[in-house]
């Protein structure tokens, strides 16, 4: 007791200094989130959708614009809890852009005859009488939008959190809405709910690891702020076992989010079960956010222990690439296949992370951006390939699609080639830059593993092309519904970026390399 008192007495309460300019993008999003909650609560159903969309896009665009105004800023603010630095801004920016595309997909209304892609009432029993009622009445639920906004703001905070505690909070702010969104598909409700349950339980499980690791690290460093931890590590290099174990548990939490083997198993189930729009949004943005946090933790806090974590990360990266690619080969559901592909891609990005060099950071950032756009585009295509039972995600229904509708088929082929890393697509430049960084840091064997994995991965990407173009369309071949402008924009954006970043990557490469390192 006395000690506590001793600590607590005569500490004058001073206002923390907050650089509101630097965190304005975040505040805008949070504010918008709150407002849209109020909208849900107060406004009549009819008018909600329009207003919500207005708020969402308004907020996203506004904070994006704001980020463009503060590109020069490099500050640690809010008592060292938030670091707004180059990488953070880059990632926030890309998260926001991708979020806009995701929102476009989620706002799509014209692909599903019975309304939008979300359940009219998430609470209603699947197949129950009142669900039919709601559907018949054409109810649209708009609760997704506040959830969406909070998720985005969580990500935006996650990548700039300079304090493990804040990182934990933002992790949850990001995750909790996603758990719910995953469960709101209009079709295949059971799968959707199952996805939500698994995602939630395992997510909670992982965040438990994360926070316990934070606790241990706090026990070692007497602080949860990354720079502090780093300085303590350098100050007393001995007896760091506590920090070591703490770091391990933190990594578990983060690697879970990036879907690295062996913390990946939630990914396929969730990606498959969740509404395709949400999957696309999630796949693109969560990757960025999680990798942002992962790199910040590894570089800023534990950069001094590089030689402790690098070997372990080698193994994880290798496993992630191989397992992801290999299992993907045997998939017949295209969403599930892309889920495994995203696991494999996470492995490739890890190669860049392990390089632990400016080049590696830049490479990873570029890869994340490239991957985000390609993936979201791919899911956009999946969301418009439908038959009477809804989205036709089974590969067998894609037979001859490329001949039935060459444009969409061609675009999807482009995405596949991009993910496979064929030159003149963004994916190739991404692979190139991370491999270059890894070789420069001497991780030759890792690169060779990566090469083998890319080959295996290439197989199932090109297999999709085989199915789409090299087989005759049959009676069960799905058809492409003409989407509204929303999905069209997302699709076009994805395709364009995939191509442009492959042919003229220089501007973005400059961007990511000029972003510099994380500040400490």
């Amino acid at each position: 007791m006395s000690t506590l008192a001793a600590v607590s007495v005569d500490v004058p309460f001073t206002l923390p200094i907050v650089d509101y300019n630097a965190i304005a993008p975040l505040l805008i999003l949070l504010g918008a989130g709150v407002i849209s909650v109020l909208v849900e609560a107060l406004l009549p159903r009819g008018s909600r959708r329009f207003i919500q969309l207005f708020i969402v896009f308004g907020a996203l665009v506004a904070s994006l614009v704001w980020i463009f105004t503060i590109t020069g800023i490099r500050v640690v603010t809010a008592e060292g809890a938030i670091a707004i630095d180059g990488p953070a801004l880059v990632m926030q920016g890309s998260i926001l852009v991708l979020a806009i595309l995701g929102a476009l997909l989620m706002a799509e209304r014209s692909v599903d005859p019975s309304g939008d892609v979300f359940a009219a009432r998430a609470s209603a029993l699947p197949g129950s009488e009142d669900e039919k009622q709601f559907t018949a009445r054409g109810y649209l639920q708009t609760e997704v939008w506040p959830l969406f906004l909070f998720a985005v703001s969580g990500m935006v905070l996650f990548v700039s959190a300079n304090d493990l505690l804040l990182m934990f909070v933002s992790l949850e702010v990001m995750s909790l809405p996603l758990y719910l969104l995953a469960g709101m598909a209009r079709r295949r409700r059971l799968l959707s709910q199952e996805a939500a349950l698994k995602y939630f339980l395992l997510g909670a499980f992982s965040s438990a690891f994360f926070i316990y690791g934070v606790a241990l690290v706090y026990g070692y460093a007497a602080s949860t702020q990354l720079p502090q931890i780093a300085s303590v590590l350098t100050a007393k290099p001995g007896q760091t076992s506590l920090a070591l174990i703490g770091m391990a548990l933190i990594l578990v939490g983060l690697l879970f989010k990036v879907a690295a083997v062996p913390f990946h198993q939630w990914t396929p189930d969730v990606y498959q079960g969740a509404p395709t729009a949400v999957t696309g949004f999630m796949a693109a943005t969560v990757k960025i956010a999680a990798f942002g946090a992962l790199m910040r933790v590894l570089y800023v806090a534990f950069g001094g222990m590089r030689w402790d974590w690098v070997p372990m990360m080698w193994i994880i990266a290798g496993l992630t690439m191989l397992v992801g690619s290999v299992i993907a080969i045997s998939q017949s559901d295209i969403k599930r296949m892309l889920a495994y592909s995203s696991i494999a891609q996470a492995g490739f990005i890890l190669v860049g992370v392990i390089a632990a060099s400016p080049a590696g950071l830049a490479g990873a950032l570029f890869y994340l951006i490239a991957y985000g756009f390609t993936t979201i585009g791919a899911f956009a295509v999946i969301s418009i390939v439908r038959d009477e039972s809804g989205e036709a995600t089974n590969l067998s229904k894609w037979a001859g699609l490329g001949r039935k509708s060459p444009l969409v088929g061609g675009v999807f082929a482009l995405f596949m080639l991009g993910l496979a890393g064929i030159p003149l697509t963004s994916g190739f430049i991404g692979k190139f830059s991370v491999f270059a960084a890894a070789l420069a840091s001497g991780d030759t064997w890792l690169v060779i593993v990566a090469v083998v994995a890319s080959l295996i991965a290439a197989f199932f990407y090109v297999r999709v092309i085989v199915v789409m173009f090299f087989t005759e369309p049959g009676p069960q071949t799905a058809s492409v519904v003409v989407p509204s402008v929303f999905t069209t924009i997302a699709l076009a954006a994805g395709a364009t970026v995939t191509l442009v970043l492959g042919i003229l990557p220089q501007p973005v490469l400059e961007l990511v390399s000029n972003a510099g390192l994380f500040i400490r």
């Binding site: 719910l180 909670a204 965040s207 316990y212 007497a222 949860t224």
Partner: protein, 99 residues
């Protein structure tokens, strides 16, 4: 009494929670085990706060509690929908998504 013991205790609690997640079928209980793990973290925070002689740990505990509460809200919502649609809270029941 040596605060380090509390750390040990927290570790034990954490492990118990983890094991609970693995062995129990009922979603609610699994979820409770997770909460147990979070609280183990809280205990560790407090104990470390004591050992390090600063308040951050105690503050952290509060944060964790809030987050835990939020998790409960979301979690229960999900579990309840599952329960209503499947008439059981077993987390082995929903097994459509695999391979």
């Amino acid at each position: 009494m040596n605060p380090a013991n509390y750390v040990v205790l927290s570790a034990v609690l954490f492990s118990l929670g983890a094991i609970g997640v693995l062995v129990r079928r009922n979603a609610i209980i699994v979820f409770m085990s997770v909460e147990l793990m979070l609280n183990a973290a809280n205990l560790a925070f407090v104990a470390f706060a004591r050992m390090n002689g600063n308040l951050d740990g105690q503050v952290a505990a509060f944060f964790v509690m809030v987050v835990a509460a939020a998790e409960v809200v979301v979690g229960l919502a999900i579990i309840v929908t599952i329960f209503r649609s499947r008439r059981s809270a077993s987390i082995d029941e929903p097994n459509l998504l695999k391979y």
